[in-house]
Symmetry: C2
Subunit: 299 residues, 2 copies
């Protein structure tokens, strides 16, 4: 099944204790699309400016991402500059230049409207709601969000949570949205908002999957070197939802396997800046690391 993803495509400048990168390919929908493309066809809806390098579009196409929905608008591409300290869980934003992203109103091409799966990457929750209205009921809808929207548009975020099947967010966002410092309480509280599943991403500490009646805890893959955590969450979501698209059936067992494929994809993403590492791997590498992960966690 194909996935329709709506989110940001950006040019990032990033500094970590282990290096830096200037104006490199980034954005939530980019990381998601490239990650999911290893598993299933991806239809991308986003906006870039006239300054967006053609090579990035070629790269996405080469990965099997359909870019018909990638609008090229007058102006500059969304740019973000961030800096990480040794604590990779928090980036300090140096600047955010929304540019063409500021007036982004996702228009879903006709041929995308029947994509089997929908992923609403981190954008304004009102736009996420508008996208849901434009498409025919997908087999599964998942979304991500960020602290900014929880603070400024909490009501809309809750509206989104009511309508999606899977709600993904990170540890701090889960605490913020629920008002619970304990993650078990936070996950259960968000589940009560309406989604069938809540996925709390804990970075290097793994992932918690909350279902009605059960919880699944998956530790992260262990790495000797993390160079840049940017996009880890979106890459996780891409592997997770991408795997479900490939399998076509959405059972609890497939969802757990998807969580592990997401974990594996994220582990590759953080090994290098931007999409560099993800652009150098094959499905064989992914399967090998999936098996490593099984060995790492099997009793």
């Amino acid at each position: 099944m194909a996935i329709l993803v709506v989110g940001s495509v950006a040019l990032d400048s990033i500094e970590t204790p282990f290096g830096k990168a200037e104006n490199v390919l980034g954005g939530s929908a980019t990381y998601f699309s490239v990650s999911a493309s290893f598993f299933t066809p991806v239809n991308l809806v986003a906006v870039v400016g006239e300054d967006f390098p053609k090579k990035h579009i070629l790269f996405l196409k080469k990965r099997g991402v359909d870019t018909k929905g990638l609008e090229i608008a007058d102006g500059n591409t969304f740019r973000w500059k961030g800096k990480y300290d040794y604590d990779f869980n928090n980036a300090a934003t140096i600047y955010t230049r929304l540019n063409v992203f500021e007036h982004f109103r996702p228009k879903i091409p006709q041929e995308y409207k029947r994509s089997g799966l929908l992923f609403l990457a981190n954008i304004d929750p009102d736009l996420q709601l508008a996208v849901m209205k434009q498409v025919e009921k997908p087999k599964l809808t998942a979304c991500d969000t960020m602290n900014y929207w929880i603070i400024n548009k909490k009501r809309s975020v809750i509206e989104v949570a009511k309508k999606v099947d899977i709600f993904l967010l990170n540890e701090a966002e889960a605490r913020q949205l629920s008002g619970e410092s304990n993650l078990l309480k936070a996950g259960r509280s968000i589940l009560r908002l309406g989604p069938k599943k809540v996925v709390i991403k804990k970075g290097e500490h793994g992932v918690l999957l909350f279902s009605h009646g059960s919880i699944f805890s998956a530790p992260a893959y262990l790495l000797e070197m993390i160079n840049d955590p940017t996009g880890a969450g979106d890459t996780f979501a891409g592997g997770f939802i991408g795997y479900l698209g490939k399998r076509g059936k959405i059972t609890d067992s497939e969802i757990k396997k998807g969580i592990i494929y997401g974990t594996v994809m994220a582990s590759y993403a953080v090994e290098d800046f931007s999409l560099r590492r993800l652009s150098s791997i094959t499905i064989r590498d992914i399967e090998r690391r999936y098996k490593d992960y099984e060995r790492l966690t099997r009793v």
Copy 2:
């Protein structure tokens, strides 16, 4: 198989954001003994002062802990006062009064010298080495340590690491001892010092078990409420080594199951102050939570 444990028995005063307790039963060997006692006989070697309440000794005996090796010396019992903030990973020490513990020279009773398993709880590494010399070669020797000894007696800590089968320490101590900030590198580096296994305790983020050639990552059990993390690591070790004592055979698979029993025991310890929660549970509770844990982590 019986376990010989050598460590501290203390009276703790603890403050957390969720409550406080004054002069309650504590100490590394206490938490270890009570936890292990659910699985196998425990022989305790430690020292207390004349002020040590008899009821605590009765409690230990009731739990099947042999207290022949619990010396009652002239003076006061070791006392520690600590305070935790919402970050339960670090306690601020208000005071440490070693009292009779300062001159503790463990004397192993004759009938303890052939205990099948030896656990060297956190004490001066030179005393840990002296204990190893006093006993007949156990089937398995495990130890714990703390930052103070890594800073002040690093050479002795390394000497202990060379001689034990299983070396347990927490995340910060692993980084400190190895000089590696990355935990994967830290675990592998400590493994090269000599032990067959290294266990890195990550508190609420679970445990990593390093063997030569493989790693096992076990997430923590999820709790809605943590009241006092004191003793969690020693309780973990008690469940872990206690289970191995019960089984009698020490295979990789049994060691992993032991890690999970340790995780389960620690999850009970932190639910209340001191040994309160551990004194209220039965083996049936432990088995039930073990099954819950399996469900939590099974793909």
